[in-house]
Amino acid sequence: MALVNVTINGVQVQAENGALLIEVAKQNGIEIPAFCYYEGMSLQAACRMCLVEVEKAPKLMAGCTLPVAEGMVVRTESEPVVKARKTTLEFLLSNHPLDCPVCDKGGECELQDMTFKYGVGESRFTEIKQHVPEKQWSPVVFYDAPRCILCYRCVRVCNEGMGVGALGISYRGVNAEIIPSNGDHLECDECGSCIDICPVGSLTSGIYRYKTRPWEMEHVGTVCTHCSNGCKTTLGVRNNEIVRGNNRDKSGINGEFLCVKGRYAFDFTQHPERLQTPLIRNAAGELEEASWSRALKLVAEKFKELAGPDFGVIGSTRTTNEESYLLQKFARTALGTASIDHHRTGDVVTLIDALSGKTGQLATTEELYTTKAVLVVASDLSQQQPLLANKIRANVRHHKAAVYAVTPGPVREDKIARKSIRVPEADSLAGVEQLREQLSKESELVIVFGDAIQGDKVRQLVAFGESLGIPVKYIALVDYANSRGALDMGVLPDLGPGYHATAPGRSLQQMLDDPKLAALWVVGANPLKGGKSLASTNAFVVVQDLFLTETAQRADVVLPAASAYEKNGTVTNVCGQVQRLKRGIETVGSKADLAIIGLLARGMGVNLGKVDADAIFAEIAASVPGYNQLPMPVILTGGAVQTHPVNGGVPPSSVPGIIASARDTLFTTGSLTRYSKILNEVLEKPGALYS
């Protein structure tokens, strides 16, 4: 695009012809204040805060909607502009209550900051302010109409960003206010984006309100532990308690996006049923509280005694890469078993094999935003992979991307799709085939597929993609925070770290079904969920978990583990992007799984080397293909880096049908969300929004 010369505050700058003045100013380090303007959302021009002086224009112009043109001369801090801003603020404050001392937003409020900057100390308005009582729209969303400055940010983020459209502005003049979708309450994703984006304290969060002041929290940037999308979340921690989760600094792969789970469902860490002391089954057959030293000693002794091929190990889809790596290393060396597995939720293994000999065909999260076409196969993305769905929506909004969906039921992507095809999951590939002509006309494509595509179907899908004659990238969807890491680290019965073939052992189901199993060590998993039982009645069972799950209830020893918010390490998201966890809080009595594994090894007299997250990561980087060239500065500063998985054949792994997605919705992710009080309160009927 042609460049034009624009003068802003006497400085000549170059900008793309037609770019918005507010953006051009920002790129050149000049702030034009605005409330309604929000990068990435449609233009509103409602607040009048961004008025600037443009030479030859008869009056002040709104910088947020003004495209720059050749020779434009702009002043953003001249006397008339400052005066206009003062007046605008005076207007905005004419009905805005001055309750900053008790307002959640106080200290990080844009209206407060602007008032402070432009010093609007007095008001000419003497009328009585119109007061309306605060409304609660859902367990997590509160609305205070008098504080609202009607900037439409929440309306737009809900409609455009989330694709939900649960908010609107109704009535007129002084009575104008935000209205929720269902009369007096909200029926929506409960994602809380509206609360985050509110420039004032009008929309407040049910769990955060009146709890603290922003400056009294420690802000810990880590990664959400719920689904596999790996959104960066900044935990607000006060007195060793997480009081909020958001990502206002827009860092990480998700920018400021978070779903209901990332924003609110950290309260499981403080659930009263959280295990805080080890439990040992006593002579009477009951689990009894015990000290860590006693429990570790008992487990180490038993492990030493029972080590061998009949020892089963079930790893986690949530623990860090370091923990998964150390677990399989410990199992394969010290415990002498090949029977190690985890709950597999997507067929990444076959995808990597099907792509052998090719490079750069695994898409990143960002590529869902930049690629010109996206095909979603057999997944309800908005429910199960909220960040990926959000990226696709933004791609459609900003780049007019072509979206295609092949799903068994209605999905939110239908609204934005060029074409939606309804076929049963088993016939997904036939559905995809119907799109051949359209897809081959696209210039590039990302194919995102769910667990219905596994085994040979993955190969067929890849063959289809490769036959289109355009560049195609793939994402094999998995469910949990570190499902991908567990695969990459070789928590598999026939593949070691980096998908290298190892001596085969039992799969998860085979371990549960084998009456000869001598011992079962379950780290952060709940394989007995849903009434399943262990065939081996005599097996010595050790469970590391946060809660007394169905599996933990069967255990002989239960060791209380730390959650992802309580430890350091790295996790790998659904697209293979590695990010770093940072400890936010500590829960008394629990230990990180890494530490537990290390202590058990020491108890058994096994030398695993230095057991801390950084040392193990260095070992991973040195020994696991794909993790060897990750730029550490990016990871250490909270960024995400995609791994480069093996470029070569992967031996076929597992029995068909062993991979099963948990079909979680926006409001569930297995046991963690069962113990999130807030998430259970906001539970909505999945699919209710698709009509």
Binding site: A166, S170, Y171, R172, I179
Partner: protein, 158 residues
Amino acid sequence: MTFSPELEAKFADLVTHYPEGRQRAALIPMLMFGQEEVGSITPEFMEEVGKRLGLNTMQVDEVVGYYSMLHKKAMGKYHVQVCTNVACLLRGGAELYDHACHKLGLGHKEVSADGLISLEEVECMGACSWAPAVQVNYDFHHEVTTDQLDTILEGLKK
């Protein structure tokens, strides 16, 4: 939701009045005409109109809330609108409205128990030259006195 063939024809015609891609501009007239047939702006009606114009229900709701002549609650068979805007106010509009309130025993946007008459205090309806003005459904009454208002109201009850 289904409408009469006449209304459907009207809707079909309305959307042709606007340039391609701007069919949402037909929203207000569609709501106005539809309101007469449906009786009020019901949630189903909003959803249906939204669907036809590619708007979500919230966007329709926003418009309905903004315009006072769009009613979510059904008004009476005869909707009496008394103007109290500046010109009418100066010529006795407020007294006229008070009189109507007492006479009918109704307040702003209230409907008589039999559903026959409803009352609304409205803003300017462009009849300033003949203030104070009263409008019953689409019929205008100019330079109305309280006595004339009584006659009009009595006439409605027959």
